[in-house]
Symmetry: C2
Subunit: 246 residues, 2 copies
Amino acid sequence: MRNIRMIVSYDGTKYYGFQTQPIGNTIQDIIEHGLKILTGEEISITASGRTDAGVHARGQVINFITRSPIPIERWALALNSRLPKDIAVLTADEVPLNFHSSHFAKRKTYRYSIDTNKFADVFERHYRYHYPMPLLVSAMEEALSKVVGEHDFTSFASQRSTKPTHVRTILRASLEQSKGKIDILVTGNGFLYNMVRIIVGTLLWVGEGKLDVEDFERILKAKDRSAAGPTAMSHGLTLMEVEYDF
Amino acid sequence: MRNIRMIVSYDGTKYYGFQTQPIGNTIQDIIEHGLKILTGEEISITASGRTDAGVHARGQVINFITRSPIPIERWALALNSRLPKDIAVLTADEVPLNFHSSHFAKRKTYRYSIDTNKFADVFERHYRYHYPMPLLVSAMEEALSKVVGEHDFTSFASQRSTKPTHVRTILRASLEQSKGKIDILVTGNGFLYNMVRIIVGTLLWVGEGKLDVEDFERILKAKDRSAAGPTAMSHGLTLMEVEYDF
């Protein structure tokens, strides 16, 4: 038995999210189907976490147990040749049998991308939320800095969250802006359901002047989802990296 | 009567090229259909030049004659709301009635994009030719510099070209490289059919060491299409800009 870990990139545009669903057409279904063709085994993959419909990944991490003797350096190419072009394995390595890509994840980095130009860049229409408004970017940046540290993020979690605690630590949060395009990068030890998208939806209200930085801080402290802004569209979100201690 | 000029961007992935074809599904068909819905007129648009199936544009220029009284500042938004999301008007202005977007074009800039990484970036799979080979980039750069100036580009023109002369002037040609991705930018006073794609296909042979820079120069002087390399895939090509004197 071997435990294989892979870094996977995918364009989530046409999938119903990462996790298997009865209706099919998820990233997990497609990868498991590719693994079945490749190995003949019924393999169940585990990911660092789910991504919703429309959400992308540059550095999702998965792992799975297999009896296949395929040499480790051939896995990525062999599986890619059995996957559609919007899903790609970037690397594969062999890890201890107890490794679990979700339980062992130490840090994750998400990027949320916004296009504030009057007309959306057609080449990024599936990867960048078109929000054609003049935004107070420095206010957004200041509000964003308030999420860094350990907080109870209940205000920024979907009410469907079933986690026993909503306390998470954000290690870094930054905003880059160029030619009307904004990228928000957030690294944390864990994220609640819809957390980045609700933070961004609230930041956009700060950007529009509907809220100020003090309001944003007040919302964070309120531990009340209804105090925060809307959940920003899924297609602006990309899981960039998942970090492990090994 | 008014002559309206527009800068148009499009993702050419799912279209059969720019120019109207009996089978439909061209950029021209879609824009003319949008104009018909908007104005009620049967408008024929003229472009700076055709682009082939799969070729993209960030700065295609079109113009058309209309009787519509729509104020010039409203054209882009009004037409965009009647176009699919992979075609966008960026700007509109009113030009003299004799303006013709092809005849008056002074310079065009094309970009050809290559991904040499082992596994293609899924987010650029429609915009960057995946060519997973180690390439001698400085040799490619040197060969590319040889196209600058006035030359007979018969070696780099499709044999289907019907132009009376194949002499064109390339004003600038440059190559940028970052993280296994290469962008080749070429500006000229005019381009022959498939010219950039054949130049790139030949440069890739230089990159692989199948040809050296002297071979590339010899090919340029040969005025013989069969001396040059293959036509690089259409989806790596983007029309970036068309320049006019006014």
